[in-house]
Subunit: 193 residues, 6 copies
């Protein structure tokens, strides 16, 4: 649709990219039908590209006490307070699809207190937002609040690590001005009832 | 879709409402196909309902130097910084429709600096956000910045008054917990190209 | 005394105003002995003038669980945190008169925690200030805190609506630079003991 | 009028105070007609009392490029942003008297940008407020802004030192809850025209 | 080592200083082996010099419920949140020496929540930081929290007064750009085990 | 020296770690003489360990327009505003060694405006701090400010990416409470003149 640049930096020549980077990009293209701009933007720097997506996969694709939809909720909520357009829009789409809920992403991005989440998920988001905004103040009481909702300490690590990884990602996308693909905005918005 | 309450306060009996309030509600129902929850929530207090919508119409429906889409941009941008779910979702839908642009509302709500707006619109939003967040600091330099983009002093009043009116509206919706109707989320998202 | 302009915008020709606007201005002149500048400033836009004062009257003149002095306390406290000179000075005068207390307005404007108010009034002001400054965080606990002091949910609506209305009014007065009349500063300061 | 305590700490027995402390208190009583509560509150600690007032006199009573009214403007403006009721009310009275202006104290306390001050005084207050709120960021540009209004570097020291001294004083008065004497509120409010 | 200026203002001619100022400077030189720059910077203004150090001694050298090391902890923690390089570095050195702990100063300056302090000291620092940053909100609950750790109300005064004095001192050092002597950085860092 | 835990999570059994993780830990032990706690803390999660250090190396060890000391300046300055004890202490040591300057780390951590850095380094730190604290506001003017000091756009990416990576790292260290090794505090503090 639009012909806007994908970021402040021009994308690299695809053919000149290392094979593993090209394969990762081709895989996401095949799965999604388009290449999310963050892949093209970061491909300019293959070592950073590899580390970024390895870290992403280690946090977002691993087994554990959080569902995949809950991990995306953390991404969208913390990206919302960081005003990161790329992450709110792109991960908002993923959240709608994973949660099978067309409303949840906008709710969580604008104000998690008004979102249709369980009390357990609300506690998860409270912790994530504290890590995102006031990590200096995290202490025992925050871990105990999670435990009261059944989260283990390893779940707490997962929540903290996802909030921290997107603290990085939000700053990169904001500073490099990575533009969300137009396709993301409408994905997963059809009603399911 | 959902059966969630429209706000912290139960809606009034429709039949018991004053005739002018009922007529306003019936008119919006006819035009939109549903009744936005803010009408039902405020109808509990007819005098406040009348003043609220009279003020709304005086600012949003009048002629002047701002287009209707630009007025909605101001609403969405200032509601974004106030984290008002109702106004971001409901006015986001109206903005998409009035601007004939399925992307603009999410852009303006999350980060107006990354939105596809003209430099003139960016200056308009900068002023609106200053009124919303730091009105104590508004001074001559802010009016001069608007003039450089062709805005008259009466346009400046319009921008300030819309930002101020939604400062009120955002606080009401947040404090009374007015829920945006499910219908708003997907409105105006179809591509137009 | 001073010949300073009443606001950034020149006042309209009085004779050219609609009759209902003129009558409202003549009534306040008769009652107060002078015309508060907000009336002249807003008269430039009769529709906004009418909606503004209709909303004001609906919130400030109605019966309910809050005394008129308490409503003015909310105005002065929230205008204080918004640094709105017009509202602190003009409503400070009204508060001193309605509360028959020459000290209360300065106390509430500078720091409500140090004011000579009852614990019930302190809870009312805490809620009002939260609506003014952090409405995104208002939740059940805030309503319960009010209930412990005997406030009904409709009283809570009143407090929230007054705080929200002056969030608008403060932004308008700051952005349009409406100057408080010199007469307000000394009104109601005589001791009553 | 009121019988409220002068601070969170009971005042010391007057007769038991060291002679120099008693003499200072008697002198201010004679001059003002009453004893400002800060004298009684600090007399509980004679060494701190002596250092506090010695510092006060060194900054507020010395000759230099600032008038006594301008020094009080700095006190009132910085005490306003620190929400210190004692200093706003007590020094507001002194400012009204020294400036022979019944309006200036409320203007400066609520919003210095709206106060009837000269551009030179506005630059002085901008510097003072930066020292009060963001001293970490003071740099060459701030000194140059003062120079453009004719302030010497020693004037800049005076402004900074007064802002710094009341940063201390505001915190003491807030933490010890020192109550302003009722007499201060109405002093200097009579019109002079 | 470095030849950087001691502050934005040149130091006064030593021989031309009043005798008591010279004697105080000579005493600290003898004790420390060098003259801390704050003495030379403030000597430019003998009356302020005398009041400053009289106040310092009244708070830091007096007997009372806080150890000398604990007083320095308050200085370092509050200077840390005020980003005052002079006070963090100079008083960090004094704290390391008085506490016989080479790690404590950096811990307290960067994040007191992660410092090796007792719960009682943590409560002391919480109160000091509240006085430094949000003195407007200090109330009964803060005094009660101190009492639960065995602090008397006079101890609370000490904590508040030290935090307030360094609120002044930090602003002076930042605004005058007083440079910490190179000697301070490494003092007290040798291990004691 | 101290026997404090390395973090909120117990370190993993060394022998049970994957070979590549063990080798990386042995290499740093050999080079530094001790194992920095972040290695032991993250080894609990080998995939995250690998991605973290791969990302670190891609940013901190690569060639480019920034010296290694300048990269550490960015780490220390941004960790300072995030109040991250681990990163300020550990990277402060590395910065002192790489810059061959025993003073620079404390200066940059407490207040970069008072640090002995070149104007070019000051511009670099201003950009890094904006990415750390207000990435939502980064725009063309920030890139132009860097260009005026000779930084290329790829240098800007480096600065932004380092600030972003430590935004993550600071949040992890704060949330997991990773304790800096005692050895770091005194490293690189000996004078070099």
């Amino acid at each position: 649709m639009s012909e806007k640049p994908i970021s402040r930096f021009p994308p690299p020549e695809f053919a000149g990219l290392p094979r593993d980077v090209r394969e990762r990009i081709e895989a996401v293209q095949e799965k999604s039908g388009f290449v999310p701009n963050v892949f093209l933007a970061l491909a300019r720097r293959p070592d950073e590209f590899r580390a970024f997506f390895a870290y992403h996969d280690a946090l977002m694709e691993k087994p554990g006490g959080l569902t995949k939809a809950e991990r995306e909720m953390i991404v969208v909520a913390t990206s919302g307070v960081n005003d990161c357009l790329y992450c709110v829009v792109a991960h908002g789409a993923i959240l709608r699809i994973r949660a099978k809920n067309p409303l949840i992403a906008d709710q969580v991005a604008v104000n998690p207190r008004k979102a249709d989440v369980t009390p357990r998920q609300r506690a998860m988001l409270d912790f994530a937002l504290k890590v995102a905004q006031r990590s200096r103040e995290v202490d025992d009481a925050d871990y105990e609040a999670l435990q009261r909702h059944g989260f283990s300490d390893d779940d707490a690590w997962d929540i903290a690590a996802i909030a921290a990884f997107y603290a990085m990602s939000n700053r990169l996308a904001n500073a490099l001005s990575i533009r969300p693909n137009d396709e993301f905005y409408a994905m997963g918005r059809e009603r399911r009832d």
